[in-house]
Symmetry: C2
Subunit: 920 residues, 2 copies
């Protein structure tokens, strides 16, 4: 018997063409007809009508909002449906996150938030067994690894490269075992993965949603247009054809799509009939059996089949749905939103930590009521695959940003309260969120102020600080009252242009600060001189070199471009040229394909980019704190090549925009590094900011690639290494639904958005490279939070604080520290090195939890799965056998520390603990 | 307190853009999203959720289909909802009939069918108290009269002339008492009539259907876009404004529209909130109270108000929704469908009568199973205001025609069975449905055949018969074997062209036949001569006159056009010119308005029509049976002016089409009669084929007309008198939803439809005119049915039969005779004259029911209301007081015959009886 699992489902984007609020309520149906409140209303009603019916729900961001508006009677009904398996949660995160442009730390957070709600509301029956990423545009190995560690039994998705799909269909490898980590011992990061047959849509002709036009089953024999026989024959043909490209006698059909089931009766009424009429054929010898099902029921049947499955160790990037349609544009679409999401994550982690460290007064203290919840939700929503991905409409992008800003506003109150408790001073704290464009009204005008630097990392860190000022000389002293070397440099032309009239600083005060682990240090700043800018701070001549004790960087005196980079410690030296270029975005008028570049798709109309300028005009700033070469390429492209006195990384801070479109050409701007390194066409990119994957030009590890887009087909999502696209301005929609060209403007930038970003370059010998880039990346991701207090501080103010008893070992990253409930906090510790990437750091390391915090006593500890919705020791997953495993490694005990308090971390391992704590 | 009655409703067209089947199942949602099965599913579910909720349902054609697919448990639930008044039926006919282009007999039938189903299913609680014609495009007085006689307490509609509405709003006369008959004693035809505030839509901004885009009520105070205050304020403003144009402190709002409530949750969830939040304001002094309601609850409040109401005695035609948008085009749109509907009604009445007269064997006899039910339903559906009106899409018009053809196929079996029983012969009966284009394979080829003529009228009638033949001489004998005068005339050129290759007759055999009341007579036809056509049957010269013993008609020898008409009995003579013209249909490019002519709208772009030809080419046929002048105006316009030897009416049979569109001009063809009659711009048109209303050019009886369309603004729906538009071919849609130009073609007429019609002219002195036109109209509406038997008849075949003991008096029309159930039949007798229109016939007349039928014994009789869903003596209606009644007439007992069996009919009265009968 061929068993067909019909899976009724809805795919509810947590924002896309409409905002998440609009989707929930069904507002602005003129943009897109979609109202999630009604979907849930309707599905529950329809499930009650027939106990055979099933439904799965995915996005907890929506479910949570709906739930809290239900009466307790209605809630009881839903619990019953969940307990009986009629309503099943799959995935269950706050949203279905993007896989290319998200950072693992925010993904873990959003999954935790969604799964926690389900766990607390429904208990074990509400715990999703299946991860479900039917829509994201390519699939990251790190996501698979995280899902495995969250305890999912399997994973289903809909989108993969069309060549890959064809091969897998022929080989019956659409279901496979994904080994998602090079470091974690199998099966820790093994995830059974299924590719759905029709994306996430129903088979053609079988869509019975109100949004579809397929013919309903007309089974009144009195009517002219009775069509039962036709429907049954078409269905049987489709089922049999589908069975040929899957391995077992169980197949799945996704019966639903975007925002479907708003009127679930249409679907269920016709599905009831379909099941009845198809199964009735069994009386005439049909060997097809159709049932309502769920992904977990289907998965269980696959597991029962007890087969071996193809093993996969790479990832599913880039995603192309046909020869000229590479979904690699969104890796960099809306760079401003992408940056804001990353900064917000940093803010949120700080907010979480200070909520724990400051105690309950953080939430309700001298500055009023604050919370981290608003920011948590805003960040969770921003992980959605049409949020940080940049593939939403402009008004929706604005809404995500607004939510983050709102979240940060609530966090600021919390942070102020917490710092008041920790410093013993209720002096008003001022936040300057626009330091990246040298705007901060306080520092621009104040003659005396202090700045507290909070360090969210578990080890002491030194950062440069740049404050917009109008004076020409300042003194800075640290928490111990010691003077700090500081310099005043003029604000660059690019910054003056980009900030417009939002700020008026003529100079920046630059100095290095240091802050203890999970703690702060306070610096005092006083104006010395309020006169004209210091003479000769900048020099208008072509520089030949800048250097500090670690690096030397040379420039071509003719072009003003970079010419070489040397590591003075290791003696390595490479030639290095860097310049800016743009690809002309395809407008769709092309003999090969009418696909234009858009929010999703990157498609240059030529493989050769245009150079923006062969040479840069330059200025040089050199002083004891920083050395800068300021390069000016065009009115819309400039860069600062910057070397701080004690930095091991060269900073390239670029400012690009507004991209000119007077020529009616869409532009994809790139920065390109040409080096003398022999790469053999190999390069490396991270997966969600964590493990690193090897890439090879025009190559895929699992199939024989027929490359049809030599540029777009070699783009991968990255946080580090290789060349990176910067900013995009496109004049055509790429016909993937968003229906807007990606042509960003704003009230402040009506002529087109200007974005600024930083590239940090380090040059190391491979065996030691990770020792540099791992901490460097964490410093970039979790930035210090600066808070300001005007005037002098009262003498009893505590100027320095650390939440830890001691810094954690270099291999250990404190991923999460957040309040869980009254007396418990959630802690995640992470080994931030891969196996074999560092001689020093790729070793197991042990931490004692009782000796962790300086102000908190740890009373109890329980280990949980990664998403904190299950005790670790209760997490039992299906075992799957790969086809090609040379030898299955011995299953490994996960904990194996010598005491409850001693926690050992192996490379790339994340361990999650619920701690009961008390303030010491 | 201002009470706002919210009336949730759906308006479900019984065919329009989609067929009735497609609408029911929700098929072809690509054309229009609509699925009635789901509406009823959803509404029932939602009504159960809150006992305050109300819903009304209107179209029984849909409800009946839905009902029979429900389980008995579901049916019980619905009965409960009906009993509790939560689900209320309004109108309740099979459809919501068109008011301009329907014949009263078919409207009474369709209402009876729908109301009977409700009555038998739900009993008194299912009986609609309110008539509800929210969509028809103008309102006929005869409809109001019928509704009154069906026992409705009130009537609501949405469309009326925009000038009329404005005046009524200012005068608070949007609710009024309509006195809908000049003949029937008040309050017999009095109907309280309410004009709805927003057509049948919700107030602007308050449409919460899935098909609408208005903002839902967002009442989660945590959200950015909480909008409860805004919604409440907008609602209060609208309610208060609406109250100023109505008389009482109760106002109604229709919360629904076309095919809405497919997902009723959207509506009800928001309406629940609206009611809650608006009424909550009462705590702050608001004087507005909102409730779920129904039209009958609203009507009850109006009745309780005990006010007097403006009296209206004319009708609501023509309907204009703005200055250049007169909905007078549909009076003649799709003339071929309109004719087919009328012929089908005649067939159905014959079928009904023969079902009764033939007994049970009619339904299951020698020719198999036949029924009248299929035709009844097809006719009921065809009364819909987008069916016979001609305002549906082409494919839907085809579907209506297909249904009628299917109905007729089932009736033919019944008729054959019945005639077999009545004649005692089972010889096969042949039907020739295409005699109007001289096609009948039997008569074209047979040397000997018989033709039975069934007369559905209750008095003996004489008709001319024209049979296509290929012989040149025939003998015809009547039922008594007496020879009948017959003549062979050549088939006209127009007929040969229009029939194309569907028939090959070269001649027509013409003779007069007579048949007894509700009976048949059989004529035998034998070929005498099979040679060339008789010489000189037609003369190619300009005729000067044709005449019979009643009429003389002269022609202008220069033009070939009619020049005069004389009544030889009365000595009246008038000059009379007749010719064909066309108006150029507006294409919408016009400085005054962009309204084009279309299926609904008639809008010539000039008031002067183009003449098709100043002169006609003519041929003359003259013999002892008929005299014809055949006029040829253009390749697409011809006419036969015809006078049968014993006819008092002159027949103008026109054939028009294909209308040429090579010039890209839409054409509205008219026939125009120019006479010497002094009319003072007065003319008369019937209402649904029954009572006659006086019209005056550029005048409306109830308001000061500002005429903006001098042609279209003077068109009224008619069956007789004045000039009549013939055929339309339009190249633009008129933007009223149908989204197709009315440009009819077919497989047979790819170049454009050809239609043929007849105009019957009589010239009489006014006091005697009704004595001629009343029976003449009935003869045109109820035509004899011809059935043919090939070869000779067996000698024991009964050749003549009457179902009546005697003909009914001339004033009495037998409107309905149809099987009701096992042993009972429904009978309607009608006085077919108005008061004062005939000295002879406008008198009460009495019929004895026991002496009615020749073969049926009447065992019992019960009088019912017009729609046969209530005993007449239980029909108690609300009493309403008109403002301006000079003196209220004394209420009149309705029966007042001397015995149960004696039935007295007063002018224009219809009386409905359920008879228990037995075959004698």
């Amino acid at each position: 018997m061929l068993n067909v699992h019909l899976v009724p489902h809805t795919h509810d984007d947590v924002g896309w063409l409409k905002t998440v609020d609009q989707y929930f309520y069904g507002d602005r149906n003129d943009i897109q007809h979609a109202g999630v409140q009604y979907i849930l209303d309707s599905v529950v009603d329809q499930l009650l009508k027939n106990p055979d019916r099933r439904f799965i729900y995915v996005e907890t961001a929506f479910f949570y909002r709906w739930w809290k508006r239900q009466s307790s009677g209605e809630q009881q009904t839903v619990k019953q449906l969940v307990n009986e398996g009629r309503l099943e949660f799959v995935n269950g995160g706050w949203c279905m996150s993007d896989e290319a442009t998200t950072h693992y730390s925010a993904v873990v957070d959003q999954m935790t938030m969604g799964l926690r709600f389900l766990n607390e509301t429904f208990g074990p029956c509400g715990r999703p067994r299946v991860a479900w990423h039917i829509d994201p545009f390519g699939h990251a190995r790190e996501h698979a690894s995280m899902f495995a560690q969250m305890g999912y039994d399997g994973f289903f998705f809909g989108r993969l490269d069309y060549q890959d799909r064809t091969r897998r269909m022929l080989a019956q490898e659409q279901e496979l075992l994904w080994r998602a980590s090079d470091s974690l011992a199998p099966p820790m990061a093994d995830l059974f993965t299924g590719i759905l047959p029709n994306g996430y849509n129903p088979p053609e002709g079988f869509c019975w949603d109100q949004s579809c036009d397929d013919p309903p089953i007309r089974d009144d024999p009195d009517l002219e247009d009775y069509n039962v026989d036709d429907v049954v024959m078409r269905f049987l043909a489709i089922a049999k054809s589908q069975a040929t490209v899957y391995k077992t006698n169980h197949i799945i059909m996704t019966m639903g799509s975007d925002f479907q089931y708003e009127n679930a009766n249409l679907w269920y009424k016709n599905l009831d009939k379909l099941i009845r009429y198809v199964n009735a054929r069994q009386g005439n010898g049909s060997r097809v059996n159709v049932v309502y099902s769920t992904p977990s029921c289907y998965l269980q049947e696959l597991h029962r089949a007890n087969l071996t499955w193809a093993l996969k160790t790479d990832d599913f990037f880039p995603y192309a749905d046909s020869a000229h349609d590479f979904w690699t544009g969104y890796f960099t679409s809306r760079p401003a939103l992408k940056r804001y999401e990353r900064v917000s994550n940093s803010h949120l982690q700080t907010c979480n930590q200070l909520e724990v460290l400051g105690g309950p007064v953080s939430r309700n203290g001298p500055f009023g009521e604050g919370n981290s919840q608003t920011m948590k939700k805003a960040m969770a929503v921003a992980q959605h695959h049409d949020a940080v991905s940049g593939t939403e409409k402009q008004h929706v992008a604005n809404d995500y940003a607004r939510r983050l800003a709102d979240g940060w506003r609530h966090c600021q109150v919390l942070v102020s309260n917490s710092l008041a408790a920790l410093t013993g001073s209720s002096a008003k704290r001022i936040y300057c969120d626009n330091l990246n464009i040298s705007v901060c009204p306080l520092t621009e005008s104040s003659k005396k102020f202090s700045v507290s630097v909070y360090n969210p990392l578990a080890r002491p860190v030194t950062w440069p600080v740049r404050l917009p000022v109008n004076g020409t000389a300042y003194t800075v002293s640290d928490a111990k009252g010691q003077p700090v070397d500081c310099q005043v440099v003029p604000v660059s032309r690019a910054t003056r242009e980009v900030r417009k009239n939002r700020g008026f600083a003529i100079n920046e005060l630059v100095f290095q600060v240091q802050a203890p682990p999970l703690g702060f240090s306070t610096y005092s700043v006083s104006l010395l001189q309020d006169g004209p800018p210091p003479a000769a701070a900048t020099k208008h001549r072509a520089p030949t070199a800048i250097q500090n004790k670690f690096l030397r960087v040379t420039f071509d005196p003719d072009t003003g471009l970079l010419s070489s980079l040397s590591n003075l410690e290791t003696g390595q030296s490479i030639s290095l040229t860097q310049n800016f270029y743009w690809y002309n975005a395809s407008d769709g008028n092309n003999s090969e394909s009418d696909q234009p570049s858009g929010a999703y798709i990157f498609r240059p109309n030529s493989s050769t980019p245009f150079v923006i300028s062969q040479r840069a005009k330059t200025e040089t700033v050199q002083n004891s704190v920083v050395q800068e070469v300021r390069q000016w390429f065009a009115p819309w492209v400039s860069q600062v090549v910057r070397l701080y006195s004690d930095s091991r990384a060269l900073e390239l801070e670029w400012t690009v925009g507004p991209l000119p479109i007077d020529d009616s050409l869409g532009k994809e701007v790139i920065t390109r590094l040409d080096t003398s390194i022999k790469t053999c066409e190999m390069f490396y990119t991270d997966s969600n900011g964590r493990e690193v994957l090897q890439r090879k030009k025009d190559f895929r590890p699992t199939w024989n690639l027929k490359q049809s887009e030599p540029i777009a087909g070699n783009y991968y999502p990255i946080n580090s290494r290789a060349f990176i696209k910067l900013h995009r301005r496109l004049l055509y929609d790429d016909v993937r639904g968003v229906a807007e060209p990606l042509n960003e403007t704003s009230a402040i930038f009506p002529e087109g958005l200007v974005v600024r970003g930083r590239l940090l370059l380090s040059l190391e010998r491979p065996p030691a490279a990770a020792d540099a880039h791992r901490p460097l990346a964490q410093e970039a991701v979790l930035q210090p939070l600066l808070t300001f207090v005007d005037g002098g501080l009262s003498p009893d103010t505590r100027l320095e604080f650390s939440g830890l008893q001691a810094a954690l070992p270099p291999a250990v990253h404190l991923l999460t520290l957040t309040q869980w409930d009254g007396d418990s906090v959630l802690l995640r510790l992470e080994h931030q090195f891969q196996s074999r990437e560092s001689r020093v750091n790729s070793q197991p390391v042990t931490v004692n939890l009782q000796k962790l915090f300086s102000t908190l006593e740890v009373i109890g500890v329980s280990e949980m799965n990664l998403s904190a919705n299950q005790w670790k020791d209760e997490m039992i997953r299906f075992a799957w056998t790969p086809q090609t495993d040379s030898e299955a490694p011995p299953p490994k005990a996960s904990g194996d520390a010598s005491s409850t308090w001693e926690v050992t971390l192996r490379p790339m391992e994340i361990r999650t603990f619920l701690l009961r704590v008390a303030l010491r």
